[in-house]
Amino acid sequence: MEPILTAVQLKKVYGGRGNQSSALSDVNFKVFPGEFTGIMGASGSGKTTLLNCISTIDRPTGGSIIVDGQDVTALKPAALSSFRRERLGFVFQDCNLLDTLTVFENIALALTILKTPVSELKSSVRETANLLGIGDVLDKFPYQISGGQRQRAAAARAIITKPALLLADEPTGALDSKSARLLLERLDELNRERGATILMVTHDAFTASWCRRILFLKDGSIYAVLDRGEADRQDFFHRIMEIVSELGGDETHVS
């Protein structure tokens, strides 16, 4: 099978001459279609930077990122825009939804910029919203619904275009454990039933335990890769915790 995402010798250096700081160095990995992959690491280890490079929001300093057979580091601005709206879906921790649009319109926005015909658009929005359990809040504005519903709305907007790759940066970061679980269940379902490829950044071992594979980042390079295999979530969670404490992260302590 062809990988959907390949990162080769990825480098990212921030700052100019004098005060350079390396955020990513020599990151190599592959993601295959239908995988649900997590990225973990301590704060400042380069998770967001990696995701931003993949999502073409940021340009890497070196190396290449091949998504769906296309080297995205070589794309021009116009091509980048079309790449983003046609191939990628995003869920970010915050600033996700447009506060001036209703939930329905927010989800529909991803389709209108793809110039989808109206007839298709409406049914598609309804269907996706129902899948994520937010069918009954479609006519509300983002400030009128709960944080968990907002995240699910953002997820709906991200998956409605059937992206080749769904990127999520700490999608559960702002959620309580119950809403987090609801969202994760949906992502898991999407992954298993619709075969969506998901790449998710998280701080949190519990969230990470929903993934099938975890990449651990340390100081900008891959420290370890963990495969869930046939293990259940509980087992996987414990294995994740082991590596997290090895990494010296703060997640092992109750704070």
Binding site: S55, I57, P77, A78, S81, S82, F83, R84, R85, E86, L88, F90, F92, C95, N96, L97, L98, D99, T100, L101, E105, A108, L109, A110, L111, T112, I113, K115, V118, L121, K122, F141, Y143, R157
Partner: protein, 480 residues
């Protein structure tokens, strides 16, 4: 050196300063034009026959200039505050780098001074050209041919302009000192963007508002047209009140009404970023409808005053013509001693009051136009600053730069065009009503005066619109 840093800031930040600079320059230009009237050829001719009238006109202009300078000072302060807010981060960084507060104040002082000098020079230069246009206009209105139509340069008016504007700069500087001194470092570093509460209006309500507004406007028009503009009685006041209220409700409801209409028309609504633009517009209407109303009324005053003062001039002219043609050659010979003599004295008799009306009208009209355009521009620019995050989301979703640019354009176009459009409708009705009055005196030629007014509006308003659009697009581009 300090001056160097200030100079660099000014030249590099010229685009940030643009609205501020433009307002100052236009202000100086208009101020100079109407304070150098004494050296206009038309006035020299008038002075030869009616020196008292010239004195009166100049006195009126002096008094008006005080009012105008207060208006301009408020505008300049408003623009300055906006600019300061925009540069907060930068100024905070200077403090963080160890620049003492007093030095920061000095830096701002130098910058204001530099821009002020630049604006004064440009404004006066523009004003000299403007005066030339004004003389051409007045002379053509008086149908007097003056062989040499040179530049009017009046040293004393330059002095007066510099004096008045120096006082204004002083006020701005004091204001800057206070706002820098009172603000702690932390405030300068963090944007104090208050979390605006987004209240989305209920759509049926806004449709109601809109319809009510239209009904009120129509009845105000009816009163005006049926009763004429001269009947300064109870009904006139009622008309003014209904008109103002109607305008307010019109703007309050318009966005919701259009939103409602477009939502019915789904292919339109879900096309490109239409949905976004409409929602954005109607989401902001709570904070903008009041200023839109005020701006619409200011524009109406600007249009009405300049058109009427020009129109009235023409009307007086034609009544003079009627008067002349009503006389026989014999009468002319008896009273004036010849046709040419008669023309001279008849025109000069009316010239004084005509000039007064014309100049006051144009002066006020220009200032109103300038104020509304400047306020609108600054408002839109600060709204754009609040919209950065929204446009960022659009960019991340993969909306092309061009599409986003069009959305920005649509938003700013709506803000500029709507008050103007309604003001033009108001003015058209008002002028029609006024015509029926003026026409009793003589025939009114509003054609030429409308064209002239339209030109003023196009230049001043258009420039502000363009600057606002470019500025907004830049604000949205630089933060990514």
């Amino acid at each position: 050196m300090f001056l160097k840093l200030a100079l660099r800031n000014v030249t590099r930040g010229m685009r940030d300063y643009s609205v501020y600079f433009l307002t100052l320059t236009f202000g100086v230009c208009v101020f100079y034009m109407f304070n150098s009237l004494g050296s206009q050829p038309a006035m020299t001719i008038l002075a030869s026959s009616d020196a008292g009238m010239v004195k009166d006109i100049l006195l009126y202009m002096d008094v008006l200039s005080v009012f105008v300078s207060v208006v301009l000072a408020c505008l300049v302060l408003y623009a300055n505050r906006f600019m300061l807010r925009r540069r907060k981060k930068e100024l905070g960084t200077y403090l963080l780098l160890g620049l003492p507060l007093s030095k920061l104040s000095l830096l701002l002082f130098c910058e204001v001074l530099l821009i002020g000098i630049l604006a004064l020079v440009t404004g006066i230069a523009l004003g000299i050209f403007g005066s030339l246009g004004l003389s051409a206009l007045t002379l053509s209105l008086f149908q007097i041919d003056v062989p040499q139509l040179g530049f009017v340069f009046s040293g004393s008016s330059v002095g007066k302009t510099i004096l008045y504007f120096s006082v204004m700069f002083l006020v701005v500087m004091v204001f800057n000192q206070i706002s820098v001194a009172r603000r702690k470092l932390i405030d300068l570093m963090t944007d104090e963007r208050k979390n605006e509460v987004l209240k989305n209006q209920s759509l049926p309500f806004s449709v109601l508002h809109f319809l009510l507004g239209v009904a009120l406007l129509l009845s105000a028009y009816a009163i005006l047209l049926l009763r004429g503009i001269l009947a300064l009685d109870k009904w006139f006041l009622v008309m003014l009140f209904i008109g103002a209220l109607g305008t307010l409700l019109f703007f309050r409801g318009l966005s919701g009404f259009i939103l409602q209409l477009c939502r019915r028309h789904e292919t339109l609504y879900y096309k490109n970023l239409n949905m976004f633009v409409l929602r954005q517009w109607s989401g902001k209407i709570h904070s903008t409808y009041l200023s839109m109303t005020v701006i619409c009324i200011m524009l109406l005053l600007a249009i009405g005053i300049s058109a009427c003062s020009l129109g009235l001039n023409n009307a007086v002219d034609s009544s003079v013509q009627t008067y002349i043609s009503s006389m026989s050659t014999q009468e002319i010979q008896d009273i004036y001693g010849g046709y040419d003599n008669m023309l001279q004295s008849v025109y000069l008799e009316t010239a004084g009051s005509k000039l007064l009306v014309l100049y006051m009208g144009l002066y006020l009209g220009m200032i109103f136009l300038l104020s509304s355009a400047a306020v609108l521009a600054l408002q839109q620019l600060s709204q754009t600053a609040d919209n950065i995050v929204r446009y960022q989301i659009l960019a991340r979703l993969g909306t092309e730069e061009r599409m986003r640019g069009r959305a920005v354009f649509a938003q700013i176009f709506l803000a500029f065009f709507l008050p103007l459009a309604l003001a033009v409708v108001h003015a058209a009705v008002g002028i029609t009503a006024a015509n029926s009055v003026i026409a009793q005196v003589g025939q009114l030629d509003t054609g030429a005066s409308s064209v002239l007014t339209a030109c003023f509006i196009l230049v001043i308003y258009g420039t502000y619109f363009l600057l606002t659009f470019l500025g907004s697009r830049r604000i949205l581009r630089e933060r990514r």
